[in-house]
Amino acid sequence: MIFSIVVTGAPYSSQASASALQFSRSVLKLGHSIHRVFFYADGVHSGSALASPPQDESNIPAEWSELARQHQLDLVVCIAAAVRRGILDENEARRYEKKGHNLAADFTLSGLGQLVEAGILSDRVVTFGA
């Protein structure tokens, strides 16, 4: 079965992203596929490469990146929600003339069309909100 996952809660402020990670691991373990993970609203903070939690806490952006590398996941961060909240890739940093960019490895910025397309092409869409 083809799943897509939507995360709208910020990591650390809410459990949404951590729950979505565990759910995604089970989806893949059970032999299903994940068409896309879409991060929207405060969920975009899951894509921050600058998140630096204490060593005895999970590094949620890093765990998403690792899962994406293992399973070729498409981790899409909503560009409009992200740029507002200061999550930028290299292109956006250049466009807005910012000194740095902080989108974590294996995430991409893209539009809401990616959410709608995921809804159309997936058998199940599961939202983790806050």
Binding site: G9, Q15, A16, S19, R25, S26, H32, R124, T127, F128
Partner: protein, 98 residues
């Protein structure tokens, strides 16, 4: 089409549980995750009194154990994340309430 309703808030912190109960049809299922698992405390049992026997009730044991809810309410079937995925497949869609 059947629905798995996923609730992640306590009955006091949002109307998620109340709204999900309005939205439920016979043959649907309800799954409590995150803070939603607190709804299994006996004090909240009246929230579920309107439910028909045709709605299966589940809770995510990972979240219940994390919160020290070890004496699971017998009206709820405890499942892990694999079970959550299996339920998502068994019902035709998943609706989240938060």
């Amino acid at each position: 089409m059947t629905t798995l309703h996923v609730i992640n808030k306590t009955p006091s912190e949002s109307s998620a549980l109340r709204d999900s109960l309005i939205a439920m049809s016979d043959g649907d299922a309800l799954l409590l995750i995150e803070n939603g698992v607190y709804a299994t405390l006996p004090a909240y049992s009246e929230h579920f009194s309107r439910l028909t026997a045709n709605v299966q009730c589940y809770l995510l044991t990972d979240d219940a154990q994390a919160r020290g809810l070890n004496d699971l309410n017998q009206d709820f079937c405890g499942i892990d994340y694999d079970g959550f995925v299996e339920l998502s497949c068994r019902y035709s869609k998943v609706v989240s309430w938060f």
